[in-house]
Symmetry: C2
Subunit: 121 residues, 2 copies
DNA sequence: TCTAAAAGTTAGAATAAATCTAAATTTATT
DNA sequence: AATAAATTTAGATTTATTCTAACTTTTAGA
């Protein structure tokens, strides 16, 4: 656990939003100006592989990262792009059932209009 | 409907697999050596927007395209990467229900080992 | 403690997917 | 046929991410 990795993990832990690698890099650079983009990616990848954090694939833009709590899926606002979490504990079993064979997992993003954007319209 | 667009549509119609823009470009170039990558993207985007074909987002690699039949989701083999279709007509309603608010759609990829890869292990 | 190996970091180059630009060509319209 | 509109082309550009190779730290053993 290097200083860099600790910093990156802290940034993710203290963020209330999902952050892109670029955003993590920007925030990290404020506290450690010498940090390199490659280090951010190295650590995000390493921590993702180790299961400490989650990578969220976002169609058409950069992946986001979050400190992983319990497993959950994502809602993405089609208006502002913001991500929100949603817990669907029944889904994996239901999909396994529907598919017939065993499944190792799935990747789901639900498209909706978030409450804030809904108000504005 | 230009010659280029017609060619691209035919390639997708006659393919039994999901094709990346790159693969479409390669196949198109065989029959029309002057065709440009930008044309392939222009047309794939235009036909996707018009609903003639479907774009499938693939985590960590290029998007794929297919001649769109009825709505369906995708299985992706974690071993060979190949995509397969699966129809889950109940899912959207079930998700809407779970989320509470209206949803405009969703993007789902189920991870599994395809029958061919399963045999090999 | 000294030293060698291993692991991690850095800057910058490289790659891949997709888009943009501006000129040229094709197609459609009067 | 002349003009406008749309499309295509080649190549440059952008964005996200990975790679490379030199340099630092850290770790562990003699």
């Amino acid at each position: 656990m290097t200083k860099q990795r600790e910093l990156i993990l802290q940034i993710l832990t203290h963020s209330d939003r999902h952050l892109t690698a670029d955003e993590v890099f920007f925030l990290a650079k404020l506290q450690m100006p010498s940090i390199a983009m490659a280090t951010v990616y190295n650590n995000l990848n390493a921590m993702t592989d180790a299961g400490f954090i989650n990578r969220v694939h976002v169609d058409g833009s950069a992946d986001c990262f979050e400190k992983g709590s319990d497993p959950h899926d994502h809602l993405r606002c089609t208006s502002c792009g913001k991500l929100a979490n949603v817990s669907l504990p029944w889904l994996k079993d239901r999909l396994r059932q529907a598919v017939g064979t065993d499944i190792s997992g799935y990747d789901l993003t639900i498209h909706y209009i978030c409450p804030e954007c809904r108000k504005k319209i």
